[in-house]
Structures are given as structure tokens and as C-alpha cells.
Symmetry: C2
Subunit: 459 residues, 2 copies
């Protein structure tokens, strides 16, 4: 939006709907100009804070009338530029829509507004002995997690964000309000709109309410760290554990460089070797059996040492360290920004993919570590960059390109859980080929004027 | 297709592509005119048997040129008329495309052609110690199961058909060939076409290949029958078991009438009372713990008797009897056809829903029994009808309408696993409201000339 008069007119109209919850304050615009990625920032024209679905619908109608983009914003923790408003327009910040509306204990579901954060939900559910299974590490909003189809450490057992969404209230480009599902645990009725809108990153509509599956907190939890001489051995051990049918709830690979950064930041003193962080959920007797079986298997796979954490404090420390791995790199590299790769490959291809990625990083001269949800075949290289040095960004882009090329070459995907945003858009054609044409048709059918987060996912 | 000359021309063109695998033989047309439901039959104009995706693409291009409908056909086990070609045209029978293309053991996935049946896959996977988790009872084809988003007795633990599909090769209305996913266990790349095409019942494209998740056969399996005085008690017991976090792999309600039909057909001698059929999967130690805990809980919930089946033979007999329940009714009511209701409700609403359904059946004077995947809130009333008696069909329709009304009134869905076909189309507006408009837009974008299974799901 270039023209100042037209922008002021839009702001006035928005104020008519939202009163004081409309801002063009420079600091606020800046706060909404970037995410946690290395992608360059861009200011929105105006930021609004709706209280309910009707207001979002009115905002959408104004956006259509003024022909300006709408970008939904949760916590700003995207790693691929999903919330950066490269064409300006209205950023809808869902900070005010942060209520947990209903916990339906007997139905194992919860209704929340999109601005509710993961930790906020966790705290509330604990009162009922329930938990929400998707844990991406960052304290993202549930709206944001649905927008990018987030997943994380527990997805190997409990599935990804898309698997948890039973229903969403969505505001479409024309301001109409729809529901994508119901409260039934399963359905074969109509087309699967839940799945289509989850992962659409604000390009098909704005979420104003989510109905999510929750489950009972497991009776017993056991965590472990297993150390290996090489990342290859660690990956082979994971495959063996999964083939044995041991239902791991988390299984994370952390390489020596990432352990080093963790030790610095989290004040742990883990051996700086390729390590698996594991967790098992179940009843006590079953867990003991699984743990023993797992110990045998990883020993056969050249595990040098395995340590178990049975009490809550030890377990929390372990997973806190793991979840802070990305921040540890950032903290230990002041002034630098992070690029996180995010491919997911068939698990049999994982050892080869990680080895090739390691070589690519070394050849680039950049510093970086590996953390990975290896049970899913999804791993991240955390690369630290000087954002003001185009040569470094170029190098990192080349590393990413090689990693993505490897993944697509063996039947994988360019993004396992971070989403497309702007960072993975250039790989969409390569990954989806002819089916990108189908996606474009869907985008055009639902957002003919391209006002919904334009330039993301679909060019 | 009315005009004989035009039809002959189409048949000739099809023969040019498929040679002898094109038929207008009356018996063959009749075989493809109906499914296992009470819905009235309708003949296709021609039936074809392609061998590969390219041939399906050619068929689709001919259908577009001649402007005739295309209906994909697997095993014909639909319960809602999904494969009945009410507007004639070409029925594509996938009987020849029944190869298991690849078992990728380490990746826990399998690639199959759409005509592969569930039992065929099960047999092959057994060699690898693997199993495919979706078991709808009928020996449907995997293409058909994907088309209706089938599920069944094990879905309470392992999820529905949509959860198992990683990728499909799909032929679109214009004959182009796309892939809907990849071999990665998860992805946040592009729009979720897997989920959209699963459950689309041939209205968006024809599936020519499926990549499906498989898992290791559980170490130990334990089955049980728990008898109750009332269906209410049984349902309450299920909720209590699930809230206790016991990971049941199957939990089925069978009412006294259904037990009676089972006993007659399967030569079992189960007490004719409301019964839960249960199954648990895990390691031996864990199972023992779960079984003991479960026994305590169901006793507290007025269970009169619980019997365990630990050996394979006893377990197989139990599940065979359960899976043959629908056939038992058919067998014991010669000359009658079956209408199966299929709503799914939030589990807290299940006891009320079943009670109301029971009353509706009794008021109608029809004979019927209840079987249900109660862990999902999904239950079926098996109603036996004289298909030549319009009054009976009318009565059954009224029962179905009341059951669907109850389900939609409490946040449920009109079909949990059988699909929409023609039977559930009249409820689509009521269930989906505004979002049906979105579904219509998608249908129009992908099949503008409405040649793909016209009249199903979307009117």
C-alpha cells in the first residue's frame, strides 16, 4: 500500500470497527515486520487486535474493499517468514483472542482461541490430568501451529498438528465464517477441510477458533540419553528400536556441536558426542520391559553409554536443554541470525541425508549443528549467519539447497514442520510438480483477489 | 448417455486404448450397477479394466471428450451407493491393478495399486512382521477404503484411513497425473492434497497408486468380552477405560440383538446381552498391567462378566464373529437388504445417542441391532428391509434421519466411516452449512465439467 491518503482511510475504517485496537505506531509495525528467521523484515501498513470472529470478518471485508493483504500473526515464532507482510497491508495480531473456551474432559477435546499459547494450554490441561501432544519447542500460539502444521519431539508417537485438529472456525477472504469439521473423533462427510486449512499459513483464511484432541497424561514417563561414536550409529539404533515395535514417544538426535552449545547455554555437562534423547510413555510394568529391550538393542548398535532419567526434575532438565538447542546457538553467537533447515526423508534414507548435510556444512565453512526428530526422518541443521553479509547468506542458501535436493531426490519433503513461508517457496515446483497446479486452483477458488497472506506457499 | 451411436463410438475409442478390457456385456454391467447397500441400482454404459495409470489417464481424456461420467470401482462394498453410476457413463474397475508394488520395511511403508484388497495386503505384510492398521471388516480394496476414508475396529488406537496415506498417484479430470504427497512421514509443504483426495469418493480424481503407513505386529495381543446389563453401562465403562489412559486397540459395543444374530451365524454361544469386544496391544508385562486395571474399572461400571481370549484361535473367532455381524443379519434375513446407519458423536454424547436410536428403531417396528466403534463415538444400527416395500424404506429413512439429526445436534457427523455416496448427501447442507460452499468451489475448480462420479458428495 503506497498511497498515504488511502492508507489513512483504511485505518479510519478499521478504527470504526475496532476502536483503539488499531495501530500504526512505528515500534508496533516493526515488531510485526519479522519473525525468528533470517528472512529480511517488511513493515505492515497497520496492525489490528481483534477480540472475536465477527471483528475478523469485518477486517477481512475491509481488506477486500481496499484490496490490501491480510497477514495473521500469532507469536511471531515462524522460521520461514510466514508472517512477514512483504506486500504490506493489515497484520491481524491474535494476542487478544487468547482464551481457552472449553475443556471437554470426557470427549478428550478442548476449544481454544488462536492466540492461546502451547504453555498456557498445557498449564490449564494439567488440572484435568490431560495433555496436548504437539510440542514444537517454541512457545508458539495454537493458531500459528495450525497454520504451519507444526510438529515436534512427540510427533513420532502422537502425530502432527494436522492430526489433532477436529474443527476450526475460519474467516474466508470474503468475510464469511465457516467451520471445517465437527466434534466427532472421525468423519467421512464432505471434503476434508480441516486438513486443507491446517498448514495453509493464512493463505486460505484466518483461524478464529480451534477444537483440538487431547489425551490423558501418561501413567509413567521415562527419559534417557544414549551416546554414540557416530551419528550414523545413532540413526541405525533408532531404526532398530522402531522395528522392534518399541513405541518411543520422543527420539531426538543431537550431534556433538549441538551438545556443545547446549552445555554452554543450559549448564549441562553431557559428553560432546552424537546423542539420542529418548522418552517412553506407558504403564510402569510395560515401560520397564520396553526400557530393558531398548537397552539391549542400542547396545547392539554401538551405544557407548545410556543414562536414564526417571524423576521429573531430571527429565525436565533433559528436554529443556533439547528444546533450547536452537536458542543456545543464537545465545552463543551474538549478532548472528539462524537459518534452520527442515527436510524430512524416509527413515531408511536418514543416515545418508545427515552425512551429506554434514559434508555440505563443513564445505561451506559455516558453523552449525544437527538436531533431529529422527523417528520421523525429520532433522534440522542450525546454521549461524551474519545477516549483513550477503556472502554468508548465499553460502547458507547453497547448503540448504543441497540438503533439500537430497531430500527430494529420495522421496522426502523440503519442510517437515516449519512450513513454506517465503523460504521454501522456491522448492514448491520441484517438490510438487503437477500437483502445484491443483494447489493454485484451490487458492484461486478460495481467494480470487489474492489478499490472504499473498506470496506465501503459492506464488 | 442416451444415444446408442455415441455410446458405440465411445466403446470403440476405449477399445482402441484397452483392447479386450472393455465390456458392455449385460451381466457385467449389472455387476457394476450396485453395491452392498439398499440403494437402487443403475447400469453404467460401459465397464473398463485398466492395467496402469496411463490407461486411466487415456480413459479420463475420452470421458472428457465424450462428456460422460467416470465412476471408479474397487470391490463394490460401499454401503452408501458411492459406486452406483446413476448417470451412466464409464465404470473403471480396478481389478487388474491389484499389485503390491513395494514393501519398504525400514521406512514402515508400502506402495500398492488401488485394487489390492485388505486381506491380500495383510497376507503379504505378515512375511515382514508388519501390519496395516485399518480394518473395516469387509475385504474392501485399498483404493475404495481411501475413497471413502474408511476406518473400523482398530481406529481408536491407530487412526483412520486418512492418517495412513502418505502419497497417492491420482488421475485428474483432464487426464493429468499428480502425486498428492511423498514418502516422508510428515510434511508442511504446500496444501494437504493427501487429506483432500482421501474421502473424495472419486469426485476429484481416480487413485492409481497408494503409499501407506504400516507398523510392526504388536508383541502381544489380548482380547476380551465384557458383558453388561445395559448398553448405557457398557458405554460408561468405555469412557472410564479411556479416561484411565488404557490404550485400547479395539473397543466394540454389540447389543443383545446383534449378539443373537452372531450366535446364529457364527455358531458362538455368547450371552445375549450388551457386550464390549475389547483388544489390547503391547508387550507382555504392560498388557498384564493394563488388563488388570481394565478389569477393575469395568467391574466398577457394572460389568457382569469378563472373559479373556489370549490364544490366537480364540481371538480370531471373537473378531470373526464381530466382523461378520452385518453379514449375520443379512444371512438370517433372506430376501432383505440392509441399511446401516453410521453417525459419529462426541463420546460423552454416545449413551444418549444410542438410547435415542434404540427408541427410534423400536417405534419403527423394524428389526435391527447395534454394533459400534464406541471408543470413537461411532456406532451403526443394522436395519433389515424389504427393498420392494417403499413403506419399509420410508420408515428406515425416518429412523436414519432421526439418528443423523441427533448426531448433528450434539456436534457429531452424519457419517463416521462409510462416506456420503448418495445416502448421506441430503445431510451435507445441514452438517456443513457455509463450508459446503467451499467444497463446491473446490469441486468446480478440479472438475469443472462434473464428469467425476457426478452427483456424489456434492450435488
Amino acid at each position: 500500500m503506497q498511497e498515504t491518503g488511502r492508507r489513512m482511510e483504511l485505518v479510519e475504517e478499521l478504527r470504526g470497527v475496532l476502536g483503539g485496537r488499531v495501530t500504526v505506531n512505528e515500534t508496533m509495525l516493526e515488531q510485526h515486520s519479522s519473525d525468528e528467521s533470517y528472512h529480511s523484515p517488511h513493515l505492515p501498513d497497520v496492525v489490528v487486535f481483534p477480540d472475536n470472529a465477527e471483528e475478523v470478518s469485518d477486517i477481512m471485508k475491509l481488506a477486500a474493499r481496499f484490496d490490501v493483504p491480510v497477514v495473521p500473526y500469532g507469536y511471531g515464532s515462524s522460521l520461514e517468514g510466514s508472517v512477514i507482510p512483504y506486500q504490506g497491508g493489515i497484520t491481524i495480531d491474535f494476542a487478544n483472542m487468547n482464551n481457552i473456551l472449553e475443556v471437554r474432559e470426557s470427549d478428550f477435546l478442548v476449544r481454544v482461541q488462536p492466540g492461546v499459547t502451547r504453555s498456557q494450554l498445557e498449564k490449564e490441561l494439567k488440572k484435568y490430568g490431560l495433555f496436548f501432544t504437539v510440542d514444537p519447542g517454541a512457545d508458539a500460539t495454537l493458531g500459528g501451529m495450525a497454520a504451519t502444521n507444526a510438529s515436534g519431539t512427540t510427533s513420532v508417537k502422537y502425530g502432527i498438528m494436522r492430526d489433532q485438529v477436529l474443527d476450526m472456525e475460519v474467516i474466508l477472504a470474503d468475510g464469511s465464517i465457516i467451520h471445517t469439521g465437527s466434534m466427532a473423533a472421525k468423519s467421512s462427510s464432505g471434503y476434508n477441510l480441516n486438513g486443507l486449512f491446517v498448514g495453509s499459513e493464512g493463505t486460505l483464511g484466518c483461524f478464529t477458533e480451534l477444537t483440538l484432541k487431547v489425551i490423558g497424561i501418561p501413567e509413567h514417563i521415562m527419559a534417557a540419553r544414549a551416546e554414540f561414536a557416530t551419528a550414523d550409529d545413532a540413526v541405525d539404533a533408532v531404526i532398530a528400536v522402531m522395528q522392534a515395535g518399541i513405541p518411543v514417544a520422543r527420539v531426538e538426535l543431537v550431534d556433538e556441536e549441538a551438545i556443545k552449545q547446549m552445555n554452554l547455554y543450559s549448564e549441562t555437562n553431557y559428553h560432546e558426542v552424537p546423542t539420542l534423547f529418548l522418552e517412553l510413555h506407558g504403564n510402569e510394568a510395560g515401560l520397564q520391559h520396553d526400557v530393558q529391550f531398548m537397552e539391549e538393542i542400542v547396545s547392539d548398535m554401538n551405544c557407548r553409554q545410556i543414562e536414564f532419567e526417571t524423576d521429573t526434575a531430571g527429565r525436565n532438565k533433559l528436554w529443556e536443554a533439547r528444546h533450547h538447542a536452537a536458542y543456545a546457538f543464537i545465545h552463543n553467537h551474538p549478532g548472528r541470525k539462524q537459518m534452520v533447515t527442515d527436510v524430512c526423508v524416509p527413515i531408511s534414507e536418514l543416515a545418508g541425508a545427515v552425512k551429506d548435510a554434514r559434508e555440505a556444512v563443513e564445505a561451506s565453512g559455516l558453523s552449525g549443528g544437527i538436531v533431529g526428530h529422527v523417528g520421523d526422518g525429520n532433522y534440522h541443521i542450525l546454521l549461524m549467519l551474519d545477516p549483513s553479509d550477503p556472502a554468508e547468506i548465499e553460502k547458507a542458501d547453497q547448503v540448504n539447497e543441497r540438503i533439500v535436493g537430497y531430500a527430494l531426490g529420495c522421496g522426502g519433503t523440503c519442510t517437515g514442520e516449519h512450513g513454506v513461508g517465503t523460504g521454501k517457496q522456491k522448492y514448491q515446483e520441484q517438490e510438487h510438480g503437477e500437483s502445484l497446479r491443483v494447489m493454485r486452483k484451490i487458492k484461486r477458488a478460495l481467494d480470487p483477489d489474492d489478499i490472504l497472506n499473498p506470496g506465501k506457499i503459492i506464488e
